[in-house]
Amino acid sequence: MGRWLDFESNPWGQEVLQGVSLDLMYLAIGLAVLFTLGHWFWYRRRGFSKQEEVAEAQGSVAGIPERIVRHTLASRIFHWSMAASMLVLLVTAFVPLLGLEFAWVTIHWIAGAVLILTIVYHVIHSIGWQDFWSMMSMGAKDVREGISHFRHVLSPKAPTPEKPGKYPFDHRMYHNGIVVVSLAAIVTGVLMTLRIETPFWEPNTYYPFVDQAVSGYSELGEPVISLTPGATTGLMFVIHGIAGVSLILMVTAHIYFAIRPDKRWFTWSMIRGWIDREHYLAHFDPDKWSVSDGSVQEQAPGGAIADSVVSAPRVDD
């Protein structure tokens, strides 16, 4: 435990939790590098690129346009704004710890504020203009789809899995993971920002978490409270730290898959907004992600969840 968490002694010899150890950052960086290299070698050895190349578009092209909108401009602006702020946050958080020192605190909280704004925008946009649950739902059917897909990835002899809807299982799993980790980082980050100088409020080192203790009683018999930052403050730093190192892994994996040759068509769709008809027919089930006249309609959130409730077909990102 002590290897992963940092404790410091106060003048009375009491151990006070401070945060996560630097070792955890090195572990995350190491795992990220190992995963990337390992997957890349495994991917080449298995010859998936060939499989991808021979993946044939199946189904009728009638009524399906050549270009299919996958991400609207609004969604793309959100994605790249969020990506930029996330990268700035990671760089300002970890690069100084790796030895390249600069005044990182102000840049860090400003990037954090930008990230919060982009997420607020994303949530409003998702609720108002998209199918909010389509990237979130993880029912039993989705899990079965994911397992089937995973088995096929591990062994080409495994049965070919069903094609997904607009958002494949692994995309939804990643999205949900990043939601949890980012929210943990944001909530603890905002609490930590209350302690530093920003234009928003007067900094207060003791706010919001203190271990309050009655240190005595006044002459009037009222308890005298002494405020001591302690374990709760440390816990806030631990959560922020774990979220931070988790993001090293998750962002590395995301960038790795984004630049991998067989996935670049996904990445291009996040840049230009559309995918071509061949990729659509090769990788998606038109029954789960129906397309007509250039617009896209989500029949079932997450593709495979046919029984999920969707109030009405709507233009999705």
Binding site: D6, S9, P11, P96, E101, W104, T205, Y206, P229
Partner: protein, 332 residues
Amino acid sequence: MAIIRDMIPAFELFQPTTVEDALVLLAEHGQGAWVLAGGLDSYDWFKDRIKRPEAVIDLGGIDELTGISDAQDGLEIGAMTTLTEIVRHERVRSEYTLLADAAEHVATPQIRNQGTLGGNVSQDTRCWYYRSGWPCYRAGGNTCYAAAPQAMNREHAIMGTSRCVAVSPSDTAHALVALDAKMIVRGRRSSNVYDAEDFFIGPATDITRMTVLESGDLLTQINIPGEWANAHFYYEKVRDRGSWDFQLVSVAAAFKTSGNTIDDARIVVNGVAPFPVRLDAVERLVRGTSVDEAVAIEAGEIAIQGSHALKYNEYKQPMMSNLVRRAVRSVA
């Protein structure tokens, strides 16, 4: 307060006679090594048992680190040159009186006999929460105890803070910045020259250090360029006890003048931030200006823009303002 005991915990003492040997020892012992110059900062740490180095590298036997020599342009001062030597050096006294003044304001004659210029600029902050062993940001923790609402922070910073509010305690640091000194830092594999202004770093850059010196680095020499020799200098230090104390606020300024017109200026304040603060805005204001009372007042007002007082150090704002005003006024 930390518990002061009568014995310093054991450590391995090394007394190299060359810089190269010192660098080898520093590299060998890494984070466990401690560089000992005059010992005036170090022994406090050791006695309080807050710092417990495995190996102490005493630089006292390295001759090449001592003495002041004339350079082609200015002076070269070894990092282990004592403050007394600097105060008494003829050329420092005649051409760089700012540095002589600053060195003379350090503590007492006995301490100046022992203390070195390198040690004076490299010493750690005197924030008592930190020095008493509290697990604060600077000590690797996650809280500044001195910035808390009920903290005793009369001597702490009013600007340049980033979580930590400790101040630089050096009396010579801002004089060196004003003189545009160059700090020679040697490591095992490299040698770097830093402007004095860049040698001191704030908590926003690294909250656990006050200078660029990292484990394995050695400040070997301070070069004073000739550019500011014989300029008009002003140094003033305000402290609680006139005979011997750390600064509350002090100012070091160098002016190139034509009559009462300031052609160029470097004005630096210490005791108000975790590093010596160069007042760029004030310098811009006074450059090319004929100094009168109005300019001096405006300079003082501009100097404290952006400052932020803690609960008990609001007095530092008018004090700093007045010191800057006096420095500018001294040209008239």
